[in-house]
């Protein structure tokens, strides 16, 4: 740290930078990525196993507690990971301030609604 730095000691210790959120976005993207490695492998393998399954078989599978828990974890981690990723893409490519603001908010809302819809459906099937 140069002696000419304008940063205060407190600012440096907090390590949050000018955006005031530090590495939170970056870290959550990695945490969800690590969680999704086993969850997605399990989900795709299960989907392949369910290929052509009708309603009865699908609902029976989704209704078992372990599957329901893993599905909710998978869906939440996926949508969180997607929201963080799409946010960066919007920040990179949408240069009109108003449009950028609109899309950043819209994407958060869309993924939140997706998550609520999926979790509600999964709970309905499991309970």
């Amino acid at each position: 740290m140069s002696e000419n730095s304008m940063r205060t000691n407190l600012g440096r210790v907090r390590g949050l930078g000018s955006a005031k959120e530090g590495v939170h976005h970056w870290w959550m993207q990695r945490l969800t990525a690590i969680a999704l490695v086993p969850l997605i492998l399990w989900f795709v393998a299960s989907l392949a196993g369910l290929a052509g399954a009708g309603h009865t078989e699908t609902v029976e599978w989704l209704g078992s507690p372990l599957v329901a828990i893993a599905m909710i974890l998978m869906v939440v981690a996926t949508l969180y990971h997607a929201a963080l990723g799409v946010q960066v893409v919007i920040e990179d490519y949408v240069h009109h301030e108003g449009l950028k603001f609109f899309w950043l908010i819209a994407v958060k809302f869309i993924f939140l609604i997706f998550g609520m819809a999926a979790v509600f459906s999964l709970l309905k099937l499991a309970l």
Partner: protein
């Protein structure tokens, strides 16, 4: 400002594509595609919760040849993003930056994602 001799950041139109840059942009493209594709995941779960009739309707759409083609694309995108994502996690941990290693892991990502897609579909279609 006389900036004529300064190094320029690469312009995509005149920059020769390399495995590393192509995989990088493919990672982002598959990420955006998969984020949009979460609508199918949510739709499928909601259809299961909605009941047998609506589930059969959605199943018919997804098992049409257009639906299967879309699912084939999604499954490859999932495996590519997963393999390349693991490659990114190794980079985050500080490993694999040597040019030779970066190219090797790139080819592993390409071949691995194709192989995993083939295995998943062979498993699903054999059911």
């Amino acid at each position: 400002m006389s900036g004529s001799n300064r190094p320029m950041s690469p312009h995509l139109q005149v920059y020769r594509p390399q495995l590393t840059s192509v995989l990088s942009i493919t990672h982002r493209a598959t990420g955006v595609g998969l984020a949009m594709g979460t609508v199918f995941l949510v739709w499928w779960v909601m259809a299961a919760a909605a009941g047998p009739d609506y589930f059969a309707y959605v199943k018919n759409i997804m098992s049409s040849w257009v639906g299967l083609l879309i699912l084939l694309g999604f499954s490859w995108a999932v495996f590519f993003h997963l393999c390349n994502g693991i490659r990114h996690l190794f980079w985050d941990a500080g490993y694999g930056f040597e040019l030779e290693t970066a190219y090797k892991s790139g080819w592993v990502t390409l071949v691995g994602s194709a192989a995993l897609t083939a295995i998943a579909w062979a498993f699903g279609l054999s059911r």
